[in-house]
């Protein structure tokens, strides 16, 4: 028995591109490739005699038992049900004038096509709600956006914006198609389906590539390159102010065993971590803790943090420093009070301070660099600023 030649193609065109899909399938049939079935995003064609078929897409749920009668009626009228893509049912008939069009009343057809609208509307609203949720409900601080916006965030935001744009294009296309039908005109029969197909291919390839990059970047790479949360402080000079530059004599506190989520992830009070983002490519985080000795009596433990950032430009550094000072807290362990601008910024372009009994904080901005120092306990603020000035001197 002869095995029929089959061909599988990706179904690039979207379900709302009704006239384009019809024109594409008709073109395939003229070349001898007749549609046999559809799978998710794919079409299977069978090689046969080139034939001028009429393909028509109608919109209804064919798996609904009550619609079996409809399929029978179409079949009695000469229309073969070939396949479906969700709500879009694909019918085929010979190019024979005795077989009437499926829809002879454009108004009736407009009602059918309107069934695609809820799905398209949902597809438009989903990314919009997702982005709104991310940006308004979670309300990330400007500093968070600047510090955490890596290329993946940039790419996923672009992806969602592209998705919204495509949904608008789909809704506009459907709207125009339905308006034409409502005016009493028949659907367009000469459409530029090749152009639509090329655009759909480009769009599809972009979506597939973005999905691979996002999945790889979000889930696979972090698993492969798992970074420790609290790596130990290395020896040698670091691009941060050290606690030893602030205090003359101190003794490191004993490491506190981490429990719960942080268990086994390092010393939560003594670490040096590096990070980067698109707009702030250099980010250094230092945490140090020390036990102060006072007349041989264990007086108190000091917790010190110094975060240093290098932004891509001074204006980004300025925005970052301003956000860190006012839109707090970025980290829940620190005070939630905003820092106040210093009356005299000294050698810095901007200086913000916070001083209360338990906590001293300094944020300084100079060129593309931002420094954020915080120290618990009774260390004088001047001492912290002095250490920072010494550190930043050329």
């Amino acid at each position: 028995m002869d095995k029929k030649e089959m061909r599988r193609c990706l179904w690039w065109l979207e379900d709302w591109q009704l006239a384009e899909q019809e024109a594409w399938l008709e073109d395939m049939s003229k070349k001898g490739w007749h549609l046999v079935k559809t799978n998710v995003g794919r079409a299977t064609f069978e090689k046969g005699t080139p034939w001028e078929y009429r393909y028509r897409c109608d919109v209804f749920k064919a798996d609904d038992w009550s619609e079996q009668e409809r399929l029978q009626l179409y079949q009695d009228a000469g229309w073969e049900h070939v396949a479906n893509r969700g709500l879009v049912q694909i019918f085929r008939a010979s190019n024979n004038s005795t077989i009437p069009e499926i829809h002879t009343d454009p108004l009736e057809q407009a009602r059918n096509v309107g069934r695609l609208l809820p799905g398209r509307l949902a597809s438009f609203l989903f990314p919009l709600l997702f982005l709104s949720f991310t940006f308004y409900v979670k309300s990330p601080r400007l500093a968070q956006l600047l510090l955490q916006s890596d290329w993946l965030t940039f790419l996923s935001t672009l992806f969602f914006l592209f998705w919204i744009l495509m949904s608008i294009v789909a809704l506009r296309h459907l709207g125009k198609y339905m308006a034409r039908l409502r005016r009493g005109s028949q659907p367009p029969r000469s459409v530029r389906w090749r152009q639509a197909m090329r655009l759909a291919q480009l769009r599809g390839a972009l979506v597939i590539l973005t999905c691979i990059l996002l999945l790889g970047g979000r889930f696979v790479t972090p698993l492969m390159l798992r970074k420790p949360l609290f790596p130990p402080i290395p020896e040698g000079p670091l691009p941060v102010v050290r606690l030893s530059q602030v205090l003359d004599v101190f003794q490191y506190a004993d490491s506190i065993p981490n429990q719960g989520y942080y268990a086994g992830k390092g010393d939560v009070f003594n670490y040096f971590r590096q990070d980067s983002s698109l707009l702030v490519p250099e980010q250094y985080f230092l945490a140090e803790s020390a036990r102060l000795q006072s007349s041989g009596v264990d007086a108190s433990t000091i917790y010190f943090h110094c975060d240093t950032y290098r932004a891509v430009s001074p204006s980004i550094a300025k925005a970052l420093a301003g956000s860190l000072a006012s839109e707090r807290p970025l980290y829940p362990t620190r005070s939630s009070l905003p820092l106040q601008p210093a009356s005299d910024a000294g050698s810095f372009a901007g200086l913000w301070l916070l001083e209360d009994e338990d906590q001293k904080e300094v944020i300084a901005w100079q060129d593309s660099w931002v420094y954020h120092l915080s120290c618990s306990g009774s260390v004088p603020l001047e001492q912290i600023i002095g250490a920072l000035v010494l550190h930043t001197e050329p």
Binding site: Q68, E69, L73, Y74, P100, H103, T104, D105, E108, N112
Partner: protein, 100 residues
């Protein structure tokens, strides 16, 4: 009532299934109206919802439709309306068209 609805009601002088209805409509309208299956199915669904037609037999894939008393009344009313409209325009057939 749309033209399609009127002709579907008109063709249901006797109970018919969908495809037979399509042919009956073409025959009654002397070939002027060829109704596609998609259009016909939409009209049938709407007429059923408005209780102007009903099913006499339902063997799953081919249902047989017939007029309900409300359907008959609606058809007669529409026919009378159309007839009155034709009557109103009778003078057009006499070739007396006033210009200006």
């Amino acid at each position: 009532m749309t033209e399609a609805m009127y002709y579907v009601l008109l063709a249901l002088r006797q109970p018919l299934h969908g495809y037979a209805l399509m042919n009956a409509i073409t025959s009654i309208s002397r070939g002027r109206i060829v109704m596609g299956p998609g259009t016909l199915y939409g009209v049938l669904t709407r007429l059923c919802r408005e209780k102007l037609i009903t099913l006499t037999e339902d063997d799953g894939r081919r249902k047989i439709y017939c007029l309900t008393p409300q359907g008959k009344a609606a058809l007669l009313e529409e026919h009378a309306r159309l007839k009155a409209m034709v009557e109103d325009g009778k003078w057009l057939e006499m070739g007396v068209i006033e210009n200006g």
